[in-house]
Symmetry: C2
Subunit: 384 residues, 2 copies
């Protein structure tokens, strides 16, 4: 238990750990519409400007701005209406001095026009003639070609998580297929002589496997693909084989160590045996989750150094630490460059919880709305 | 454009609207491990207590607390070690006065023991005998049967979104299949004579369909299944048929109306024609998205009243309003009882944006970390 003497500070430990394993990204080309939640692999540039032609942003009349100079309620300008811009069509008329054309929001500005007078600032006088009550400036109520996106502009840098807005933006540019980073594969191993599969009614002394499943769910939520390697007994050779097999197939291996000190020590020893550099931190100054193992192993000669994480066996602890540690590793392995900020709220804890000086405490709570936001721990404090 | 004269207040409008359509929930039984992100359909009760037997929460010695009475560093209590509790096994010995048994974290307490002395508060004297330096109380370092979950307790109420913690909790109880609510089907119709599919290079005057895809992505993110009904011309009969077909198959129909006032009016008219009550709000006092249509239609006699939403044609506006309006409708249709709070942060806007009194402005921004958090609008203000 010598490693426990010096507990690492969580943020520092994570920072060091994230530098210890490789993260070779590989692309995968998929339909853009399938790409929501995935991470963009390479810079995407606009092949054409957006919009591609000058468009009206209002319903009104396309005009040459100089023709409206001085127009007011008391002194309207009279203009001849020479046509209507049909939606989706290139106008079949040209604006010359004293003339205008009816145009709808999104319609293409006719040649000769440089602005649009809003419908509500005009009045029909007789067929083919309107009064204009407001002067417009050049470019008013018009969006110019390239104003949203310039041709050649980088629209999405690599490492960005694609959300609905990005999917839409890509479609606007006609980019219907996209290279995203391959989803990391995360191997999950549950250890412990006391663990049985959830389908079984556990005999006295045994408990059901929880961690394989809660961690699978979490890994999926983080954007990776979980592979469950089942339950491994607290037996060194068996664990060694399981870790080797998982490490061969996966980008990250997560082991929920048994809860007892001896089981945790065995897990650390096995990780060191699998490949160097091995265990980097065994013990983080955090509650729950003090016995966390952060490791990196080059399992095959010349192969990549892969991350291996040993989580506490207690299901609540395992999930808390996975949120803090497994999630950032998956982000790195996905090539996500701007890890999303964890949303934070301030809430008043409804009970007193003691915390040791220098130790971080992470307690799952339920938020309760009231005059002020308060929080109540969701589980008994009996976690390790 | 008469409807525009009285613009509804966004929150009020949404509240009224959410009461106007039916939300008949139907269950679907799936593997628990597939249920992450889904909504629980019915109350789930614990068939057995958790833990099922008294367990040690530390590594140490199982004792009868009364035997340790008065133990201290200067006056230790001597105890005979009569066995070791093997992980996952029922102890094969019984604790009697003056005896104790080695136990590991998670191990089952032997009969006769009521507490555990931590390893670090003991010392081995000779084989089979230890000194105890600290007294323990009854129940100390022990978790009792049912302390985490009582038998018969409701562990997950209906309407809860299942996350990794819930998946784990269900597995702990051996619940490997679960009834979740069916995912709502959301029909998406893009309208506009100017819209072409994204694969096509748009001729002058035309633009690519963005909304079908960004809305599909958003709908998926909200936990529903999108069905795209393609692009419909600004032609009343064509739109009527498309809405009828979509409403027949889907739980919610979203139409991105053309941007011009006439196109929006046509959309509203078609919705009224499809089924009553029809349009409930046409115009919300919000920017962007003023021309939003909130409607409900009973499309077939005796059938359910279904929600129909008309979104602005501008892609940014459509996405902003969808986040505010489509998302809560999907939550209702999924049976989600406790809609997750939208995370909020305070940030200083890096530019001045004018806002009309009484109007809500929703501006997509990029958050920038610095001495204080600041925000910069992501798009030009030219949205309608």
């Amino acid at each position: 238990m010598a490693e426990f003497l010096k507990l690492a500070v969580p943020d520092e430990a994570l920072g060091v750990f994230l530098e210890k394993f490789d993260s070779p990204l590989s692309p995968e080309e998929i339909e853009t519409i399938q790409a929501v939640g995935r991470v963009n692999y390479e810079s995407i540039f606009a092949g054409s400007p957006l919009p591609a032609f000058p468009r009206s942003t209002v319903d009104g009349y396309a005009v040459a701005a100089r023709d409206t100079f001085g127009a007011s309620d008391s002194l309207p300008v009279y203009m001849q209406v020479i046509g209507e811009v049909m939606m989706g069509e290139s106008p079949d008329f040209v604006i010359s001095s004293g003339t205008c054309g009816l145009i709808h929001t999104g319609g293409m500005l006719p040649e000769g026009a440089d602005s649009v007078v809003m419908l509500e600032h005009t009045q029909s006088v007789r067929a083919g003639e309107i009064e204009v009550f407001r002067a417009v400036g050049v470019g008013e109520n018009v969006i110019l070609p390239g104003e949203d996106v310039r041709k050649g502009e980088e629209v999405i840098p690599p490492g960005v998580k694609l959300r609905s807005a990005e999917i839409g933006g890509l479609m606007a540019l006609g980019i219907t297929r996209i290279k995203v980073t391959r989803r990391p594969l995360v191997g999950i191993i549950s250890t412990g002589d006391e663990i049985v599969p959830p389908e079984i009614v556990p005999p006295k002394g045994k408990i059901r496997d929880v961690n394989s499943y809660s961690l699978s769910a979490l890994v999926e939520t983080c954007g990776a693909l979980p592979i469950r390697y089942g339950i491994v007994k607290d037996q060194r050779q068996e664990l060694f084989s399981a870790v080797r097999i998982a490490l061969d197939a996966c980008d990250l291996v997560v082991i929920t160590a048994g809860s007892s000190a001896s089981s945790r020590d065995m897990t650390a020893a096995v990780i060191n045996e699998v490949g160097s550099p091995g265990v980097i931190f065994h013990g983080i100054n955090i509650r729950p989750g003090k016995p966390t193992i952060l490791a990196a192993c080059r399992a095959t000669e010349g192969g990549a150094i892969k991350a291996v994480i040993g989580l506490p066996g207690n299901p609540v602890s395992a999930l808390v630490i996975a949120t803090l540690v497994v999630d950032p590793v998956i982000k790195k392995l996905s090539g996500l460059r701007t890890p999303s900020q964890r949303p934070r709220v301030h809430a008043r804890l409804s009970i007193n919880l003691a915390s040791q000086a220098g130790r971080e405490d992470w307690i799952p709570v339920r938020l309760i709305e009231g005059e002020e936001l308060s929080s109540r721990p969701r589980y008994s404090g009996k976690v390790t």
